[in-house]
């Protein structure tokens, strides 16, 4: 695949550097900005793979929607007190185990090389794959798609109930 390696390394560095800064910086807003940079790097990687639709959706939803909400909450809540608290949860070992397991899985497949991964066939027309994506999403993968939206609906109803607990 003709990927401009320079861009790939730049976006990869942005993604990983942003992720590292997200968990190491002290100020919550700085962490959020680092996370935005990391997500933007992922969007750039999508663009390099010619997944233009995913690139746009990544920016509109994650950077333009979810991260704005994050910032909104950070600005509304006083986080100075939270920053002074102990930064590690009691069950930190569970997180560590999950991270190590994921890392081991990735390293296993990377070591196995490209033969271990099943590559999807390259679409006949690389540019303009938005239509192909929506065709697949609403025909072959309709059930999983609708199930995911049901999951989101449950989450919305749940958060409304939690927010209105004292009123009802």
């Amino acid at each position: 695949m003709p990927i401009d390696p320079l861009f790939f390394w730049a976006f990869a560095a942005l993604t990983l550097g942003g992720a590292l800064l997200t968990i190491t910086l002290r100020s919550a807003v700085h962490c959020a900005i680092a996370l935005i940079a990391s997500l933007a790097g992922v969007a750039g990687l999508y663009l390099l793979q010619k997944a233009e639709f995913l690139f746009a959706v990544q920016i509109v939803l994650y950077i333009g929607g979810i991260m704005v909400l994050f910032l909104f909450v950070i600005m509304l809540v006083n986080l100075d007190a939270a920053a002074r608290e102990r930064q590690f949860h009691k069950r930190w070992w569970a997180g560590l185990a999950a991270t190590l397991a994921t890392g081991a899985l990735l390293i296993y497949y990377l070591a196995k090389g490209a033969s271990g991964l099943r590559a999807a066939p390259m679409p006949a027309q690389p540019a303009g794959n938005t239509e192909q994506l929506s065709d697949l999403l609403f025909s072959e993968y309709l059930l999983p798609f609708e199930l995911v939206s049901l999951l989101l609906l449950v989450a919305i109803v749940g958060s409304v109930i939690m927010a209105k607990k004292r009123i009802v």
Binding site: A56, I59, V60, G64, L69
Partner: protein, 317 residues
């Protein structure tokens, strides 16, 4: 299809948009004055035209002050974000056949993505100023932009359904017989309102609301950093006018006159309309703004999408 003269297109669009943004400051003050029955700037040069130049010289020589309590890095970066994101959007705007920087396949989504990034400028400026009024302005901006972005995207999906493409050039070409404003009038009205909210112009200027928040998110800014917010706002007005022209009024299409002239005429009309809106409308309360967005505009946009989809489906079968 990309432009035959890419560098020329980039330079041309950059120079024209930035000059237009500066010229709009003069135009807005003169038009507002006309509609409010006063003179406006009329002393410096013919018709006060050189007032812009005088203002520019003044703003460049002002002290570039950063408050000692501000978060310096974020404070400096915030004004740049708005100008960068809006100028990026102009990359996919087809001015006339062949005059476009990048004819992106998902052009419309790209514009929406860039406009959703613009909000960070205001939010981060409000936060980094470390000032009550600025913070309130930033929080308001975050809530307002988030609510109005949702139906801004939805209101355009009717146009996408009719044209069958996200590509802005294809959308213009699909309007050869009929401008989309006729079948998509509701979509047009919704987008106009959302566009005004995105640029934070007067009926929707709650993030800066002079009479309640001093100057909101840019209270602590001065000199050219303040100027960047100003230029960004005018660039946003030009961008929204360009988008309305392209999506609903047939872009460069029109009889007799060359395409680029038609495009400019239509864009100037909508710019003047945005200025008229500022002259004519009062500012709503913040809770009114939010409830309009979620309880009126969003259901209307969804209904528009549903009906358009049903009609297009019935038409094809």
């Amino acid at each position: 299809m990309t432009s035959p003269y890419p560098i020329l297109s980039i330079l041309g669009i950059l120079i024209v948009t930035l000059t237009l943004a500066a010229g709009l400051i003069w135009l807005e003050r003169r038009l507002l004055a006309l509609w409010q029955d006063r003179y406006g700037p009329n002393r410096v040069g013919p018709f006060g035209l050189l007032q812009v130049l005088a203002d520019m010289i003044k703003i460049f020589f002002k002290e570039d002050w950063i408050p000692p309590f501000a978060d310096k890095a974020v404070f400096v970066a915030a004004p740049a974000i708005i100008v960068v994101t809006v100028l990026m959007s102009f990359a996919v705007v087809p001015v006339a056949p062949g005059i476009i920087v990048s004819d992106l396949d998902v052009g419309l989504l790209f514009v929406l993505a860039m406009s959703s990034l613009g909000v960070y400028s205001v939010v981060l400026a409000g936060w980094s100023s470390d000032n009550k009024y600025a913070l309130l302005g930033g929080v308001r901006a975050a809530a307002q932009m988030l609510s109005y972005e949702v139906f801004m995207g939805l209101s355009l999906m009717g146009v996408v359904l009719l044209a069958g493409s996200f590509n802005l050039t294809a959308i213009v070409e699909a309007q050869r017989n009929l401008w989309f404003v006729a079948p998509q009038f509701l979509g047009f009205v919704l987008f106009l309102i959302a566009g005004a909210a995105e640029t934070r112009r007067l009926p929707f200027d709650l993030p800066e609301a002079e009479s309640e928040l001093i100057a909101g998110f840019h209270s602590e800014y001065s000199g050219m950093k303040f100027g960047m917010f100003f230029v960004g706002e005018y660039l946003g007005v030009i961008l929204i006018s360009c988008l309305i022209t392209i999506l609903f009024f047939g872009g460069w299409l029109g009889p007799v006159l060359p395409p680029i002239v038609w495009f400019l005429i239509k864009v100037m009309f909508f710019i003047a309309f945005f200025i008229l809106m500022r002259a004519a409308l009062p500012r709503p309360r913040f809770d009114q703004l939010m409830s309009w967005g979620w309880k009126l505009m969003l259901p209307l946009a969804l209904a528009n999408l549903l009906i358009t989809g049903a009609v297009v489906l019935a038409w094809r079968s």
